[in-house]
């Protein structure tokens, strides 16, 4: 039993070591964001130096930090909602109705998954311009409403869900849409949660396209705003890290709330099989 104990301790040591490595950079960011302006040189300062919220309040009073926060949340929420609904619809059709046309469409999903999205910078720009959507929220939302990764994940998942319940409902005379929304969708909750969280964070952190497709300050999302800060000659690490922390905190909060859901969703999926 002693070996068991040693194993347990070793397990925890390894776990904490990894946790330290994973957490340190982010902790460092929070710590620096709370430091008064000035030199960042000494290692000791990290533990002993003083704390201040001034960097944060500076950002909110002298830049449009509130607006950036709103933009990021607004866009990410709409895109996530859209993806959960649309990806599920598409994935369901691809998983259940296996016609030739559907197979071809699934191939398009796979192809798009492999396309380096970054090659689309300029064609998308031109498209947005011609459609009069350049520098509007549409440019930040429309292209990302149906993410092939979401379709891919959900299709794999739905294929593993037995269709017996749907067949039974069909025999009972329930309509297709009702079956999809009230029977299949709840069964897919775990996968939907994975898709939702992935899409939300992907979109929240999206940088290059918002950077290119908008120009107004009022449409800047947080990553874009941070890149703008970085371009400024006179900003110091303390303020830069305060801005970074503001971009991380909402993700942190949402993650803490959603994390349980994801884990329980995964567990639920496992039990079913």
């Amino acid at each position: 039993m002693v070996t068991d104990r040693i194993k347990k301790i070793a397990h925890y040591v390894i776990l904490f070591l990894i946790l330290g490595i994973m957490a340190f950079p982010l902790l460092w960011m929070f710590r620096v964001s709370l430091m008064p302006t000035g030199s960042l040189q000494s290692f000791v300062e990290l533990w002993q130096g003083s704390y201040t919220l001034k960097n944060y309040s500076d950002l909110f009073t002298t830049s449009s930090m509130g607006r950036y926060l709103f933009n990021s949340s607004f866009v990410a929420l709409i895109v996530t909602t859209g993806n959960v609904l649309f990806c599920f619809m598409v994935a369901y059709a691809l998983a259940r109705y296996r016609t030739i046309a559907n197979k071809i469409l699934f191939v398009t999903v796979i192809i798009v998954l492999m396309i380096p999205a970054h090659i689309l910078i300029v064609p998308l720009y031109v498209l947005m311009l011609k459609a009069k959507m350049y520098d509007t929220y549409w440019a930040l939302i429309l292209p990302w409403l149906v993410n092939p990764i979401g379709i891919f994940l959900l299709k794999q998942y739905i294929e593993n869900v037995p269709s017996t319940m749907e067949d039974a409902a069909r025999v009972d005379g329930a309509g297709e849409y009702r079956i999809i929304m009230t029977i299949v969708m709840p069964l897919c909750k775990p996968a939907l949660a994975v898709v939702a969280i992935q899409i939300f964070f992907t979109n929240w952190n999206l940088f290059l396209f918002p950077f290119i497709l908008t120009s107004s300050e009022s449409l800047r999302t947080l990553p874009v705003a941070l890149a703008h800060f970085q371009g400024q000659q006179a900003i110091d690490w303390q303020h830069l890290m305060a801005g970074s922390a503001i971009a991380v905190i909402p993700v942190l909060i949402i993650f803490i709330i959603l994390q349980k859901r994801i884990v329980s969703g995964i567990t639920a999926g496992a039990i079913k099989q």
Binding site: T62, S63, G231
Partner: protein
Amino acid sequence: MKYILTILFVLMAITSWAETTIELWQFWTDPAIKPTIQNIIDDFEKANPDIKVNLTDLTWANGHEKIVLAFSSGTGPDVVELGSDWIAQFGANGHLADISKYISEDSASFQGWGMANYKNKIYGFPWILGTRVIFGNKDLLKQTQFGEDYIPISFDDLKNSSYKIQKISDNIYGWGSNTAEKHRLYKKYLPFFWTYGAQIFSDDGKYCVLPSLPAVEAMTYYKFLHDSCGYVANQRGIEDAFLDGKIGYIISGDWLLKRIELENRDINFFTTLFPGRKFPGKSFMGGEFLSINDASDNKDEALKLIRFITSPENQIKFCKANRSANPSSINAQEDEYFKSNVHLQTFIKQINLSKNPPVIPDWVYIENIIERAVEDVLFNDALPGESLREARSKIDKLRK
């Protein structure tokens, strides 16, 4: 009463009908200066009720790209702030209006027209200029034989005092040397290049004469500073270290004065003109210009706006808020604000002794090629002569 109201409505209708909107794109987004810009724009709108100004902010990171994309798709703004390096590129492609006809009355009272002059057409109105000077740390000099009040006059002075500062301790460096960093590194080499007497192009502009004896000498000199006493980092990193008192000399711009003031940094420093065989040496000059879109329907209003923004009073207002040292307006330069500050004076003196890179459309590419050559010498130990020759053949190929 009804009568008056009707007239009022009609008047309102007329004025709103006659209102012109000017799109203005500009780069000053820093919280310290943005309100001032807005302020100047508000004043302009108050003085010209028939003109509305639509302000859009650009950043150094992607501003150039956005301007190009907008111009190429015909949606460029009426007035755009352009860095001096970009004017020729946009002008040569027909995107900018030639304002040479309208500015005869302004030409004597503003500095910097040369940077907007491509093939005898003027594509931009000088606004805020910029140059770089040497910043030195007095406390570090005090610890050497040179003493606190030392000022390097010749290249040897700079080299020897940097070297002595480097020797003070392991954590102290003589010279702040830029790492490979786009648009920044070559601007540190060119002052030495010019001061040694080298040129990029022959006087008639036809041939690239980049590899020359003075160019190699300048590169060898710069490489010595870099290797023997350089603190190598990006511009921000160098400035951080300088403010922490770890570097003897750095090249920097007026933004560093602003940082020292805003962050309340406790540093005993001086600013001085570039050293040279014949003191003072030449520095690098650039500037922000306001250009008019050639496709704009409101060129007159645009020019009016530009004149307003660049008026001496507004330039002083701007410079005070941004701690900029080099207004383009000569009247503004005479202001007490600049006269009373010894550091600002260094900048104003230096800019008259500075050179700007050639005003040619290909400069943005050539700049890149020169930068690569400097990188190769500093970081890959390429031979100065060879890398400059290689750069010339690339430039020749590009211009063909």
